[in-house]
Symmetry: C2
DNA sequence: ATTCTTGCAAATAATTTGCACCACC
DNA sequence: GGTGGTGCAAATTATTTGCAAGAAT
């Protein structure tokens, strides 16, 4: 999941500069944390970052995630009714399935969405595939709770 | 959007009782509000309810929406990165498209998802179509902001 | 040196909970 | 009358913001 040298090789540093942002240790650490964690909430990112530097503040994490997302280095999705999670885009783009029974999260290739996205595009709507999360349940989960 | 007699005809009252819940004015008002508003946040539901009774409390709205959803009378979806919205299921089931440019929300027939849901089912996953929201942008919106 | 960033604390916003009182069955 | 439901206020949780001090260019 985590490549030694973060997303997009090294050029994200250049990308930062290009947009007038500064390169700070906090930004490096947050990006690495997201990359290593896979899918993580801001809180979890903070915890990971603090393994390396205990002085980092939660508000910095929020601000940094915002910047990184604006730069296209990370994305967020809503994998539970409560709490966004961030993931690096070094993992190729994907959307998510979340099982309400076992809570398992599966990353799926965008190709599976092709028929849907094409249909929507024909109707004038371009879907943001990377942000999509489909809730439901695995058929092999005890399919108990059903209203 | 709002049928005179709320979702499922009148039998939702029976359904309440059947599960040991009591029929209260608050529950009737919240259900009617959701039905009339189309898509509404708890706050908006409260505002609507208060048109009829100013004494109703926000915590009652939260508790009531939870009960109504458990009974299958309403559903919620996340139409913005921030804030769930509730809608009555008297409107036939649908999923949502949300444009990040113009903020427009479009309700779409589940049939459009058929190819996707079938593919996912083949892989052992049953999608909760009614909860799905696809973010993206209309092609006729000024397609400016793109990272 | 200049200006962007950060840490900290306080402000918001959204939702939940404890509890005494009230109303439905 | 007993029990579940409600209002109210306080507690949580999540996120944002103002600002002075610190750091990157």
């Amino acid at each position: 999941m985590a490549t030694p040298e973060a997303p997009g090789g090294t050029d994200w540093r250049a990308r930062l500069r290009a947009r007038g942002y500064r390169l700070t240790p906090q930004r490096e650490m947050v990006l690495r944390a997201v990359d290593e964690l896979g899918h993580a909430t801001p809180d979890e990112v903070l915890a990971k970052v603090r393994e390396q530097s205990s002085a980092v503040n939660i508000s910095t994490v929020y601000r940094t995630l915002e910047v990184l997302e604006e730069l296209g280095l990370v994305r967020h999705a809503h994998l539970s009714d409560r709490a966004p999670t961030y993931h690096s885009i070094s993992d190729h783009e994907h959307f998510h399935l979340v099982c309400r029974n076992c809570q398992k999260v599966v990353s799926v290739d965008p190709d599976v969405l092709r028929p849907l996205t094409e249909r929507l595009e024909a109707d004038g709507f371009v879907a943001d595939v990377g942000h999509l999360t489909v809730f439901g349940h695995c058929t092999d989960c005890t399919p108990t709770k059903e209203s």
